[in-house]
């Protein structure tokens, strides 16, 4: 444990003060007596691994979580944040990772949602709104059309609209949660400019990110959280990469990411994908296809990475492979040389494909049921005779899953919802391993789990690959992707742009290929022309 380093300045002009904030979700403690200070006009980076509690802390400040312990002062006044309205009234706005805009409404309608400019009693004055919106958006370097629906804008532009919305609400404190995760390099640069301008005008900005380069370039102050606790705070001069990483991870990076990858060139091909495509169910001008021209093959024991920005079509690719988009998808998929039809997850399961989804709580687990009931779900038929489940085999399956994957639980009947994130993830993977799959699709397998559990998942992925599974890995964390993968296919807006082998891995290369308008490897651009 590192003691919180003292801030040298006197705490005047404190825009936001959070004192002793604690939060538990069921049995897991997410925040433990965290203090957080924010001065007016500063850019304050909040850093930490996934699951460190940064988003939770800021959601409390923004009134999105109504039950917490601790005190919040805005401009010196005590506030109890119970709803987003409280936060708006206190001048706090949060821009979440998933933008909260109404896609069908126009830019100005979104900006003035809930505080429309009206002509008489209730008739909306669009002209005035458009004018006012233009006024707000001008300094933000916004290029889109204001009377256009949000859905037609690019993600970067949508983000500017969110900022404008916050400004119209007279926010003095702007919280941004991973704002660059879907942005190209140029858009990121522009966003930084906007943030600096706002800070100069006295807006306090909390910038949540785990991208080191951005933080070092942008922030005045850096606060690091780990496992729900405040680890340290430092001003920009003192902040350096190495120190921040040490604080975030709690030990030197090499310990966690230690791995030896062996190159094997002649592998038996397990999964072959040809010309995978997926139509956009709500086609926009920019995108009629969510995925197109995606072809790759994965050998036995290979970990094949899919890289890309948010919305690049990585998750959708996995979903198509698992038969979740019948009718709108196409392409040829072979498992161990046999062509398979993918209309339902039942088909995929029968073909030996398993999918571990990115949101284990939403898609992966029945949270209100025990470990045993979750583990057996995909293979229940095999332990039943005449439709009746054998209780002994049920228990045996649960015990085996707990043992093999090292799930920490009080027993096979513990509810899945009360497990920690890491153990939940192990349970989801364990559930699928019981089906004896040939192909394992992993979507963000370490999202929201602590560092220790992360290392265990990495080890598990390594072991499974050694046992001959073909693994397709999607991850937004480039260090994770480059560490685990044997090859990486980079996607950009649904199209493949590069296939990289291990010696070509670098964060800069991947980002370059992943950015819209960035480079494309010749092999892939030729394919485009041929079409």
């Amino acid at each position: 444990m590192v003691a919180p380093t003292e801030l040298t300045e006197a705490p005047n002009h404190l825009a936001l003060q959070m004192r002793g904030i604690s939060k538990t979700f069921g049995p897991t403690t997410v925040l433990r007596k965290v203090d957080f200070d924010l001065r007016a006009g500063e850019i304050h980076a909040l850093m930490g691994e996934n699951g460190a509690g940064k988003s939770t802390l800021m959601k409390i400040a923004a009134g999105l979580i109504d039950q917490y312990d601790g005190e919040i002062y805005v401009g010196g006044k005590h506030h109890r944040m119970v709803s987003p309205r409280d936060a708006t009234r206190a001048g706090i706005a949060m821009i979440q990772q998933e933008l909260s805009l109404v896609p069908e409404l126009a830019v100005d309608e979104n900006i003035f949602l809930g505080q429309e400019k009206v002509r008489s009693l209730f008739i909306v004055d669009r002209e005035q709104q458009v004018r006012a919106a233009r006024e707000v958006l001008r300094p933000l370097d916004f290029h889109g059309r204001i009377d256009q629906p949000i859905a037609k804008l690019r993600v970067g532009e949508q983000q500017l609209v969110e900022i404008a919305k916050a400004l119209v609400a007279k926010a003095r404190i702007l919280i941004m949660d991973e704002p660059t995760s879907a942005l190209s390099i140029n858009e990121t640069e522009r966003l930084f400019q906007v943030i600096r301008t706002l800070a100069k005008e006295g807006v306090a900005i909390v910038y949540i990110s785990h991208r080191m380069e951005e933080v070092v370039a942008l922030a005045d102050t850096v606060t690091v959280l780990r496992d729900g606790q405040l680890i340290g705070r430092m001003s920009q001069e003192k902040a350096n990469r190495r120190e921040i990483i040490r604080m975030m991870v709690g030990r030197e990076l090499q310990d966690v990411f230690a791995s030896g990858k062996s190159e094997t060139s002649t592998r038996k091909q397990v999964l072959e994908v040809q010309n995978l495509r997926l139509e956009n169910p709500a086609p926009t001008v920019a995108r009629s296809m969510l995925v197109q021209n995606v072809s790759f093959s994965v050998g036995a024991g290979e970990v094949f990475g899919l890289a890309g920005l948010l919305g690049a079509g990585r998750t959708e690719t996995l979903e198509v492979l698992f038969g979740l988009h019948p009718g709108t998808s196409g392409g040829e998929v072979r498992v161990e040389g046999r062509k398979i039809r993918l209309l339902t997850p039942v088909d995929a399961k029968a073909a030996g494909i398993a999918l571990v989804t990115e949101d284990r709580k939403r898609d992966g687990l029945v949270l209100g049921a025990g470990i045993d009931r979750n583990a057996e779900l995909a293979v229940l038929r095999t332990i039943a005779t005449f439709g009746l489940v054998s209780p002994n085999e049920e228990l045996e399956l649960a015990d085996r899953t707990i043992r093999n994957l090292g799930i920490q639980a009080s027993g096979p009947r513990q509810l899945a919802g009360t497990l920690s994130g890491g153990n939940q993830q192990k349970l989801v993977i364990g559930k699928w391993l019981l089906t004896k799959p040939r192909v394992l699709l992993l979507d963000e397998p370490t999202r929201g789990i602590d560092v220790g559990a992360k290392a265990e998942i990495y080890r598990l992925i390594g072991t499974l690959a050694e046992q001959g599974l073909a693994i397709v890995l999607v991850s937004s964390e480039l260090p994770e992707l480059t560490l685990l993968s044997d090859r990486i296919l980079v996607l950009c807006e649904g199209r493949p742009t590069a296939l990289l082998s291990r010696d070509q891995f670098s964060h800069e290369t991947i980002l370059e290929y992943a950015s819209p308008g960035g480079s494309v490897q010749p092999a892939f651009s030729e394919m485009e022309v041929a079409r």
């Binding site: 898609d363 009931r373 779900l377 995909a378 332990i383 005779t385 489940v389």
Partner: protein, 431 residues
């Protein structure tokens, strides 16, 4: 010591439903009028038997409703389904030859026989042949053809058997097979619209509730058609069995109810079907992604609900000696209330058949107690509504958490005022 306390507390909390029933029962015993012979009327065998008779129709429907609600759905069409069952049953019993009812029932029965056999025969064959070994996920084509042929033979047999009864009117067994089959088909239709049409269960079953009521009235030929079953000579004599008392104390409808509770309680507890129902209600997406045929299962659940509702219709016809299109008015709400009192979560995934049994009994005993006290029927409605709210508050309301929230709310107001006062003081001081 503390451990004993907490385990006692947990035990009491887990069984609070039964304690509620026990308390209500005691209230019944002590509030009951006593007749001239000094017998407690509430406790008299006749009264207990009557309660069971009164609850059994609602109970049978509630069993199906439990399955539906456990998947996270709702079935509003059961009342109309019961009315349809009642009308079809009465018509089959009293009218010879091809009537609207037999025209509906016979093809439907053949259809149900065919599909059930075509589905079940391969399943049983695989399980039987492989013995204790594991069944395959899919039947191979030859086994499937066996099922289809077997189903076709059975369907033809069913047509032959039912058409044979047309000349002499249907017997008890005839209506007990044909009428539930009608409910099964309409219930499956509910499920088809919900799963394949991707519509809300509430809307679909609401529409079906209206439509089926119309069908029930149309079948009879007039709006308020009542088909007397026992008047005159045109009745099927042995139909009286369905309202008889076994051992002079247990009403036959009660046996149907208990049987349904046992069968479907067992299915929920130990079968794959039951596991899947809980999984779908707990997290439908997770179930779908685990390769479970969610649509098929949901259709089956609604079909079962419809089948049970029509069975209740048959019992209604036997009980009141008439088939009525308004037989099941409000039955869906009573069933939902019983299921919810029994602790089954309307969002799905949590609940049990034993809870529904207790819920049905609580509802039934409450009505009985109020009746014995001669309480005005409108007052009864108010009290029933109150009981539903109270029961659900106990089950779901998380009273402890709510209490904490209310307290913290007042704390905030206090501290907010304090903070306000302090900041005013500071402001004044700085001036």
């Amino acid at each position: 010591m503390k451990r004993v306390l907490t385990s006692t507390r947990n035990f009491l909390l887990q069984t609070k439903l039964f304690w509620g029933l026990a308390v209500l029962y005691l209230v019944g015993v002590f509030s009951s009028p006593i007749n001239r012979k000094g017998i407690n009327i509430f406790l008299s065998p006749g009264n207990q038997s009557d309660v069971l008779r009164q609850v059994s129709n609602n109970g049978i429907i509630a069993v199906g409703m439990t399955l539906v609600i456990l998947t996270g759905g709702i079935d509003l069409s059961v009342g109309s389904m019961m009315a349809l069952g009642s009308v079809v049953c009465a018509m089959l019993l009293t009218q010879q030859g091809w009537t609207n009812a037999s025209f509906l029932a016979i093809p439907v029965l053949a259809l149900v026989t065919f599909f059930l056999s075509a589905y079940l025969v391969p399943l049983i064959a695989i399980n039987a042949v492989r013995g204790s070994a594991r069944p395959m996920e899919k039947a191979n084509p030859s086994v499937r053809w066996c099922g289809i042929i077997f189903g076709a033979i059975l369907a033809i047999l069913s047509v032959w058997w039912t058409v044979g009864q047309l000349g002499t009117k249907f017997g008890v067994l005839g209506v007990l097979v044909a009428v539930p089959a009608v409910g099964l088909v309409f219930g499956a239709l509910n499920g088809l619209f919900i799963t394949k049409g991707k519509m809300q269960p509430f809307i679909v079953t609401l529409a079906m509730m209206v439509a089926i009521l119309g069908i029930a009235r149309l079948l009879g030929g007039s709006n308020m058609a009542v088909h007397p079953v026992y008047t005159g000579t045109n009745a099927t004599e042995n139909f009286d069995i369905l309202r008889a008392l076994v051992f002079q104390i247990i009403p036959v409808p009660g046996i149907f109810f208990i049987f349904a509770v046992l069968v479907f309680g067992f299915v929920l507890k130990v079968s794959t079907f039951g596991r899947y129902i809980y999984a779908i209600g707990g997290n439908e997406q997770a179930a779908r992604l685990a390769g479970i045929r969610v649509d098929q299962l949901k259709i089956a659940v609604y079909a079962i609900s419809g089948m049970l509702a029509c069975t209740a219709g048959v019992l209604y016809t036997a009980q009141y000696r008439q088939g009525k299109p308004d037989a099941g008015a409000g039955a869906e709400l009573d069933a939902i209330a019983a299921v919810v009192i029994g602790g089954t979560n309307l969002m799905g995934g949590r609940g049990s058949m034993i809870g529904t049994l207790v819920g049905v009994l609580i509802f039934g005993f409450l009505g009985n107690i109020l009746q014995l006290r001669n309480i005005d029927s409108n007052t009864q409605l108010v009290l029933k509504g109150g009981i539903i709210l109270a029961a659900v508050l106990l089950q779901e309301g998380q009273l402890g958490v709510r209490w904490k929230q209310i307290r913290s709310y007042f704390k905030v107001i206090d501290s907010g005022q304090e903070a306000g006062a302090k900041s005013r003081q500071v402001e004044e001081a700085s001036k």
